[in-house]
Protein backbone atom coordinates (compact mmCIF):
# COMPACT_ATOMS: atom_id res chain seq x y z
CA UNK A 1 0.00 0.00 0.00
CA UNK A 2 3.01 2.30 0.23
CA UNK A 3 2.70 3.67 -3.25
CA UNK A 4 -1.02 4.13 -2.97
CA UNK A 5 -0.42 6.19 0.14
CA UNK A 6 2.42 8.10 -1.49
CA UNK A 7 0.29 8.90 -4.53
CA UNK A 8 -2.57 9.96 -2.34
CA UNK A 9 -0.25 12.23 -0.39
CA UNK A 10 1.09 13.81 -3.55
CA UNK A 11 -2.40 14.14 -4.84
CA UNK A 12 -3.58 15.76 -1.64
CA UNK A 13 -0.87 18.39 -2.10
CA UNK A 14 -1.43 18.87 -5.77
CA UNK A 15 -5.17 18.51 -6.02
CA UNK A 16 -6.77 18.68 -2.59
CA UNK A 17 -9.96 19.85 -4.22
CA UNK A 18 -10.38 16.81 -6.41
CA UNK A 19 -13.82 16.19 -5.01
CA UNK A 20 -14.87 19.75 -5.86
CA UNK A 21 -16.08 21.51 -8.96
CA UNK A 22 -16.02 19.56 -12.17
CA UNK A 23 -15.43 16.17 -10.69
CA UNK A 24 -16.45 14.50 -7.53
CA UNK A 25 -18.65 12.24 -5.57
CA UNK A 26 -21.66 14.48 -5.82
CA UNK A 27 -22.05 14.24 -9.58
CA UNK A 28 -21.14 10.59 -9.56
CA UNK A 29 -24.24 9.98 -7.54
CA UNK A 30 -26.31 11.09 -10.50
CA UNK A 31 -27.94 8.16 -12.28
CA UNK A 32 -26.03 7.40 -15.45
CA UNK A 33 -29.02 5.80 -17.11
CA UNK A 34 -31.04 9.00 -17.40
CA UNK A 35 -30.75 10.43 -20.87
CA UNK A 36 -30.26 14.16 -20.58
CA UNK A 37 -30.22 16.64 -23.38
CA UNK A 38 -26.65 17.93 -23.74
CA UNK A 39 -26.19 21.52 -22.53
CA UNK A 40 -24.80 24.23 -24.82
CA UNK A 41 -21.18 23.43 -25.71
CA UNK A 42 -19.76 26.29 -23.67
CA UNK A 43 -21.55 25.00 -20.57
CA UNK A 44 -20.11 21.56 -21.21
CA UNK A 45 -16.65 23.09 -21.60
CA UNK A 46 -17.04 25.03 -18.37
CA UNK A 47 -18.26 21.98 -16.45
CA UNK A 48 -15.54 19.60 -17.62
CA UNK A 49 -12.48 21.74 -18.26
CA UNK A 50 -10.91 21.44 -14.81
CA UNK A 51 -11.13 17.65 -14.61
CA UNK A 52 -9.81 17.29 -18.15
CA UNK A 53 -6.96 19.70 -17.53
CA UNK A 54 -6.00 18.07 -14.24
CA UNK A 55 -5.93 14.69 -15.97
CA UNK A 56 -3.83 16.05 -18.83
CA UNK A 57 -1.34 17.76 -16.53
CA UNK A 58 -0.77 14.45 -14.79
CA UNK A 59 -0.53 12.35 -17.93
CA UNK A 60 0.68 14.58 -20.75
CA UNK A 61 2.87 17.06 -18.85
CA UNK A 62 4.23 19.64 -21.29
CA UNK A 63 1.74 18.50 -23.95
CA UNK A 64 -1.22 19.22 -21.66
CA UNK A 65 -2.26 22.44 -23.39
CA UNK A 66 -2.08 20.91 -26.86
CA UNK A 67 -3.99 17.84 -25.72
CA UNK A 68 -6.59 20.06 -24.04
CA UNK A 69 -7.21 21.95 -27.24
CA UNK A 70 -7.41 18.79 -29.32
CA UNK A 71 -9.75 17.20 -26.81
CA UNK A 72 -12.26 20.01 -26.95
CA UNK A 73 -11.98 20.49 -30.70
CA UNK A 74 -12.77 16.79 -31.13
CA UNK A 75 -15.64 17.14 -28.68
CA UNK A 76 -16.91 20.15 -30.62
CA UNK A 77 -16.72 18.23 -33.88
CA UNK A 78 -18.96 15.53 -32.44
CA UNK A 79 -21.17 17.78 -30.33
CA UNK A 80 -23.99 18.54 -32.80
CA UNK A 81 -24.73 14.82 -33.09
CA UNK A 82 -24.50 14.13 -29.37
CA UNK A 83 -27.90 13.12 -27.98
CA UNK A 84 -27.15 11.93 -24.48
CA UNK A 85 -25.74 14.48 -22.07
CA UNK A 86 -25.94 12.33 -18.95
CA UNK A 87 -22.28 11.43 -18.57
CA UNK A 88 -20.38 14.20 -20.27
CA UNK A 89 -17.43 14.23 -17.90
CA UNK A 90 -16.62 10.61 -18.71
CA UNK A 91 -17.16 11.38 -22.39
CA UNK A 92 -14.71 14.32 -22.25
CA UNK A 93 -12.18 12.23 -20.33
CA UNK A 94 -12.49 9.43 -22.87
CA UNK A 95 -11.56 11.84 -25.64
CA UNK A 96 -8.74 13.26 -23.52
CA UNK A 97 -7.45 9.74 -22.88
CA UNK A 98 -7.25 9.06 -26.62
CA UNK A 99 -5.39 12.34 -27.11
CA UNK A 100 -2.85 11.37 -24.46
CA UNK A 101 -2.29 8.02 -26.16
CA UNK A 102 -1.95 9.73 -29.57
CA UNK A 103 0.36 12.36 -28.17
CA UNK A 104 2.56 9.74 -26.48
CA UNK A 105 2.82 7.86 -29.79
CA UNK A 106 3.68 11.03 -31.70
CA UNK A 107 6.25 11.97 -29.11
CA UNK A 108 7.86 8.54 -29.29
CA UNK A 109 8.23 8.87 -33.06
CA UNK A 110 9.39 12.45 -33.01
CA UNK A 111 13.16 13.06 -32.81
CA UNK A 112 13.79 14.99 -29.63
CA UNK A 113 16.53 17.60 -29.70
CA UNK A 114 17.41 18.73 -26.19
CA UNK A 115 16.34 22.32 -26.93
CA UNK A 116 12.86 21.13 -27.79
CA UNK A 117 12.19 20.05 -24.25
CA UNK A 118 13.32 23.37 -22.80
CA UNK A 119 11.37 25.42 -25.32
CA UNK A 120 8.19 23.53 -24.77
CA UNK A 121 8.53 23.83 -21.05
CA UNK A 122 8.91 27.59 -21.21
CA UNK A 123 6.27 28.05 -23.89
CA UNK A 124 3.74 26.48 -21.58
CA UNK A 125 2.71 28.27 -18.42
CA UNK A 126 4.58 27.15 -15.31
CA UNK A 127 3.59 23.53 -14.94
CA UNK A 128 1.09 23.37 -12.07
CA UNK A 129 1.86 19.71 -11.53
CA UNK A 130 5.51 19.72 -10.72
CA UNK A 131 7.36 18.28 -13.70
CA UNK A 132 10.39 17.49 -11.54
CA UNK A 133 8.49 15.61 -8.89
CA UNK A 134 9.58 11.95 -9.11
CA UNK A 135 6.03 10.65 -8.68
CA UNK A 136 4.65 12.66 -11.55
CA UNK A 137 7.69 11.88 -13.68
CA UNK A 138 7.27 8.20 -12.97
CA UNK A 139 3.57 8.42 -13.76
CA UNK A 140 4.28 9.98 -17.12
CA UNK A 141 6.83 7.29 -17.92
CA UNK A 142 4.11 4.61 -17.82
CA UNK A 143 2.59 3.24 -21.02
CA UNK A 144 -0.21 5.67 -21.96
CA UNK A 145 -3.21 3.49 -21.08
CA UNK A 146 -1.82 2.57 -17.68
CA UNK A 147 -0.84 6.15 -17.12
CA UNK A 148 -4.36 7.30 -17.98
CA UNK A 149 -5.92 4.62 -15.80
CA UNK A 150 -3.80 5.52 -12.77
CA UNK A 151 -4.50 9.23 -13.24
CA UNK A 152 -8.23 8.61 -13.60
CA UNK A 153 -8.19 6.55 -10.43
CA UNK A 154 -5.96 8.67 -8.21
CA UNK A 155 -5.96 12.18 -9.64
CA UNK A 156 -9.65 12.36 -10.53
CA UNK A 157 -10.94 9.76 -8.10
CA UNK A 158 -13.03 8.04 -10.77
CA UNK A 159 -14.78 4.74 -10.19
CA UNK A 160 -13.62 1.72 -12.18
CA UNK A 161 -16.83 1.93 -14.23
CA UNK A 162 -15.96 5.51 -15.17
CA UNK A 163 -12.37 4.56 -15.93
CA UNK A 164 -13.65 1.80 -18.19
CA UNK A 165 -15.79 4.36 -20.04
CA UNK A 166 -12.86 6.72 -20.36
CA UNK A 167 -10.54 3.99 -21.61
CA UNK A 168 -13.20 2.48 -23.84
CA UNK A 169 -12.54 -0.86 -22.20
CA UNK A 170 -14.19 -3.33 -19.84
CA UNK A 171 -14.14 -2.68 -16.14
CA UNK A 172 -11.83 -5.67 -15.77
CA UNK A 173 -9.35 -4.15 -18.21
CA UNK A 174 -9.60 -0.84 -16.36
CA UNK A 175 -8.73 -2.58 -13.09
CA UNK A 176 -5.86 -4.40 -14.79
CA UNK A 177 -4.49 -1.15 -16.20
CA UNK A 178 -4.63 0.56 -12.82
CA UNK A 179 -3.04 -2.47 -11.17
CA UNK A 180 -0.25 -2.81 -13.74
CA UNK A 181 0.39 0.92 -13.66
CA UNK A 182 0.66 0.98 -9.90
CA UNK A 183 2.92 -2.04 -9.94
CA UNK A 184 5.31 -0.36 -12.37
CA UNK A 185 5.21 2.87 -10.40
CA UNK A 186 6.08 0.94 -7.28
CA UNK A 187 9.06 -0.63 -9.03
CA UNK A 188 10.24 2.66 -10.46
CA UNK A 189 9.89 4.64 -7.27
CA UNK A 190 11.17 1.96 -4.96
CA UNK A 191 9.26 0.76 -1.97
CA UNK A 192 10.99 2.41 0.95
CA UNK A 193 9.04 1.29 3.95
CA UNK A 194 8.84 -2.36 3.03
CA UNK A 195 5.35 -2.53 4.43
CA UNK A 196 3.99 -4.51 1.54
CA UNK A 197 2.63 -7.84 2.49
Amino acid sequence: MALHTLLLEVIETVAPNRGGAGGGRADRARPVSASLRPPPFEEFLEATRTAVYRFLLATAGPDADDCFQETFLSALRAYPRLRDGSNLRAWALAIATRKVVDSARARAKRPRPVADVGERASATDPAPVDGKDPVWRALRSLPPRQRAAVAHRFVLDLSYAEIATALGSSEEAARANVYQGLKKLRERLGNDDGSEE
Binding site: F41, R54, D125, P128
Partner: protein, 191 residues
Amino acid sequence: MTSDAAAGSRRAARRIGDAADAAGLVDVAYGTVDTPIGALLVAVSRRGVVRVAFEEEIDDTVIELSDDTSVRVLRSARGTDEVRRQVEEYFGGSRHEFDVGVDWSELHGFTRKVLRETARIPFGSVLTYREVAGRAGNSRAMRAAGNALHANPVPIVVPCHRVIRTGGGLGGYGGRLDRKEALLRMEGALL
Protein backbone atom coordinates in the same frame (compact mmCIF):
# COMPACT_ATOMS: atom_id res chain seq x y z
CA MET B 1 -1.96 24.36 -5.96
CA THR B 2 -5.63 23.46 -6.47
CA SER B 3 -6.36 26.63 -8.30
CA ASP B 4 -3.66 25.78 -10.85
CA ALA B 5 -5.74 23.24 -12.71
CA ALA B 6 -8.77 25.50 -12.48
CA ALA B 7 -6.86 28.60 -13.60
CA GLY B 8 -4.86 26.72 -16.22
CA SER B 9 -7.99 25.16 -17.64
CA ARG B 10 -9.72 28.53 -17.70
CA ARG B 11 -6.85 29.98 -19.72
CA ALA B 12 -6.85 26.99 -22.04
CA ALA B 13 -10.64 27.06 -22.37
CA ARG B 14 -10.59 30.71 -23.42
CA ARG B 15 -8.46 29.76 -26.41
CA ILE B 16 -10.92 27.10 -27.61
CA GLY B 17 -13.25 29.54 -29.38
CA ASP B 18 -10.56 31.00 -31.60
CA ALA B 19 -8.95 27.61 -32.26
CA ALA B 20 -12.35 26.20 -33.20
CA ASP B 21 -13.02 29.16 -35.44
CA ALA B 22 -9.66 28.69 -37.17
CA ALA B 23 -10.55 25.02 -37.67
CA GLY B 24 -13.90 25.95 -39.23
CA LEU B 25 -15.83 24.36 -36.38
CA VAL B 26 -17.87 27.38 -35.32
CA ASP B 27 -21.36 27.91 -36.73
CA VAL B 28 -22.04 31.07 -34.78
CA ALA B 29 -19.22 33.13 -33.27
CA TYR B 30 -20.10 35.84 -30.79
CA GLY B 31 -18.26 38.61 -29.04
CA THR B 32 -18.87 41.95 -27.42
CA VAL B 33 -17.81 45.45 -28.29
CA ASP B 34 -17.98 48.52 -26.05
CA THR B 35 -19.77 51.53 -27.47
CA PRO B 36 -21.06 54.88 -26.19
CA ILE B 37 -24.53 53.29 -25.83
CA GLY B 38 -23.20 50.35 -23.80
CA ALA B 39 -21.76 46.95 -24.58
CA LEU B 40 -23.10 45.31 -27.72
CA LEU B 41 -23.14 41.64 -28.51
CA VAL B 42 -22.44 40.70 -32.10
CA ALA B 43 -23.05 37.18 -33.36
CA VAL B 44 -21.87 36.03 -36.76
CA SER B 45 -23.05 32.89 -38.54
CA ARG B 46 -21.49 31.37 -41.62
CA ARG B 47 -23.85 33.57 -43.66
CA GLY B 48 -23.22 36.86 -41.90
CA VAL B 49 -24.27 38.91 -38.89
CA VAL B 50 -27.13 37.07 -37.27
CA ARG B 51 -27.63 38.99 -34.04
CA VAL B 52 -26.77 42.32 -32.47
CA ALA B 53 -27.95 42.74 -28.88
CA PHE B 54 -27.82 45.55 -26.37
CA GLU B 55 -26.13 45.19 -23.02
CA GLU B 56 -29.13 44.02 -20.98
CA GLU B 57 -30.08 41.44 -23.64
CA ILE B 58 -26.66 39.84 -24.00
CA ASP B 59 -27.05 36.90 -21.58
CA ASP B 60 -30.49 35.95 -22.84
CA THR B 61 -29.33 36.22 -26.44
CA VAL B 62 -26.36 33.90 -25.86
CA ILE B 63 -28.66 31.39 -24.15
CA GLU B 64 -31.16 31.64 -26.97
CA LEU B 65 -28.47 31.18 -29.63
CA SER B 66 -26.83 28.25 -27.79
CA ASP B 67 -30.05 26.43 -27.06
CA ASP B 68 -29.91 24.35 -30.21
CA THR B 69 -26.82 22.21 -29.60
CA SER B 70 -26.76 21.05 -33.21
CA VAL B 71 -25.48 24.56 -33.93
CA ARG B 72 -21.98 25.24 -32.61
CA VAL B 73 -22.04 28.58 -30.84
CA LEU B 74 -18.80 29.84 -29.33
CA ARG B 75 -17.34 33.06 -28.07
CA SER B 76 -14.56 33.92 -30.48
CA ALA B 77 -12.64 37.14 -30.94
CA ARG B 78 -11.35 35.81 -34.24
CA GLY B 79 -14.79 34.99 -35.64
CA THR B 80 -16.25 38.39 -34.76
CA ASP B 81 -13.19 40.50 -35.47
CA GLU B 82 -14.40 42.17 -38.66
CA VAL B 83 -17.85 43.05 -37.36
CA ARG B 84 -16.54 44.36 -34.05
CA ARG B 85 -14.03 46.52 -35.89
CA GLN B 86 -16.72 48.00 -38.12
CA VAL B 87 -19.01 48.68 -35.14
CA GLU B 88 -16.15 50.52 -33.44
CA GLU B 89 -15.50 52.53 -36.58
CA TYR B 90 -19.19 53.39 -36.86
CA PHE B 91 -19.29 54.71 -33.30
CA GLY B 92 -15.93 56.42 -33.81
CA GLY B 93 -17.42 58.32 -36.73
CA SER B 94 -15.16 56.93 -39.45
CA ARG B 95 -17.69 54.51 -40.94
CA HIS B 96 -21.10 55.37 -42.36
CA GLU B 97 -21.96 52.06 -43.94
CA PHE B 98 -21.51 48.48 -42.79
CA ASP B 99 -19.66 46.28 -45.20
CA VAL B 100 -20.62 42.92 -43.72
CA GLY B 101 -23.09 40.29 -44.80
CA VAL B 102 -26.32 39.88 -42.88
CA ASP B 103 -27.76 36.43 -42.27
CA TRP B 104 -31.30 36.86 -43.62
CA SER B 105 -32.14 33.17 -43.41
CA GLU B 106 -34.41 33.44 -40.35
CA LEU B 107 -36.30 36.41 -41.76
CA HIS B 108 -39.26 35.94 -44.02
CA GLY B 109 -42.06 37.69 -45.82
CA PHE B 110 -42.93 41.28 -45.06
CA THR B 111 -40.49 41.44 -42.14
CA ARG B 112 -37.64 40.58 -44.43
CA LYS B 113 -38.74 43.12 -47.04
CA VAL B 114 -39.05 45.88 -44.43
CA LEU B 115 -35.61 45.14 -42.99
CA ARG B 116 -34.06 44.92 -46.46
CA GLU B 117 -35.45 48.35 -47.26
CA THR B 118 -34.31 49.68 -43.89
CA ALA B 119 -30.79 48.47 -44.62
CA ARG B 120 -30.74 50.86 -47.60
CA ILE B 121 -31.47 54.02 -45.61
CA PRO B 122 -28.22 56.00 -45.67
CA PHE B 123 -26.35 57.30 -42.63
CA GLY B 124 -27.80 60.56 -41.36
CA SER B 125 -31.18 60.29 -43.04
CA VAL B 126 -34.52 58.97 -41.83
CA LEU B 127 -37.69 57.50 -43.29
CA THR B 128 -41.16 57.26 -41.75
CA TYR B 129 -42.83 53.98 -40.92
CA ARG B 130 -45.26 54.68 -43.75
CA GLU B 131 -42.43 55.22 -46.25
CA VAL B 132 -40.65 52.03 -45.28
CA ALA B 133 -43.91 50.09 -45.45
CA GLY B 134 -44.46 51.55 -48.91
CA ARG B 135 -41.00 50.59 -50.12
CA ALA B 136 -41.61 47.09 -48.80
CA GLY B 137 -44.76 46.95 -50.93
CA ASN B 138 -47.65 48.14 -48.77
CA SER B 139 -47.74 51.71 -47.50
CA ARG B 140 -50.80 51.00 -45.37
CA ALA B 141 -49.01 48.29 -43.40
CA MET B 142 -47.38 50.81 -41.06
CA ARG B 143 -48.10 48.78 -37.97
CA ALA B 144 -46.70 45.62 -39.53
CA ALA B 145 -43.62 47.60 -40.54
CA GLY B 146 -43.29 48.81 -36.95
CA ASN B 147 -43.49 45.23 -35.70
CA ALA B 148 -40.89 44.09 -38.22
CA LEU B 149 -38.53 46.83 -37.09
CA HIS B 150 -39.19 46.03 -33.45
CA ALA B 151 -38.18 42.42 -34.18
CA ASN B 152 -34.98 43.46 -36.00
CA PRO B 153 -32.39 40.87 -34.91
CA VAL B 154 -29.49 43.03 -36.10
CA PRO B 155 -30.01 46.64 -34.93
CA ILE B 156 -27.27 49.16 -35.79
CA VAL B 157 -26.16 46.98 -38.74
CA VAL B 158 -29.68 47.17 -40.16
CA PRO B 159 -30.37 50.72 -38.99
CA CYS B 160 -33.93 50.51 -37.74
CA HIS B 161 -33.21 53.63 -35.68
CA ARG B 162 -33.50 55.56 -38.96
CA VAL B 163 -37.23 54.93 -39.13
CA ILE B 164 -39.40 57.47 -37.29
CA ARG B 165 -43.00 58.64 -37.08
CA THR B 166 -44.71 60.79 -39.64
CA GLY B 167 -44.60 64.25 -38.09
CA GLY B 168 -41.19 63.77 -36.50
CA GLY B 169 -41.92 61.69 -33.38
CA LEU B 170 -39.20 59.16 -32.77
CA GLY B 171 -41.49 56.15 -32.52
CA GLY B 172 -40.18 53.16 -30.62
CA TYR B 173 -36.83 51.46 -30.10
CA GLY B 174 -37.16 48.34 -28.02
CA GLY B 175 -38.04 50.30 -24.92
CA ARG B 176 -34.88 52.40 -25.03
CA LEU B 177 -35.75 55.51 -26.93
CA ASP B 178 -32.68 57.28 -25.51
CA ARG B 179 -30.54 54.97 -27.63
CA LYS B 180 -32.44 55.78 -30.81
CA GLU B 181 -32.06 59.45 -30.00
CA ALA B 182 -28.34 59.07 -29.31
CA LEU B 183 -27.78 57.24 -32.59
CA LEU B 184 -29.72 59.78 -34.64
CA ARG B 185 -27.91 62.64 -32.92
CA MET B 186 -24.58 60.96 -33.59
CA GLU B 187 -25.51 60.69 -37.27
CA GLY B 188 -26.60 64.31 -37.38
CA ALA B 189 -30.20 63.41 -38.22
CA LEU B 190 -31.38 65.06 -35.03
CA LEU B 191 -30.19 68.37 -33.71
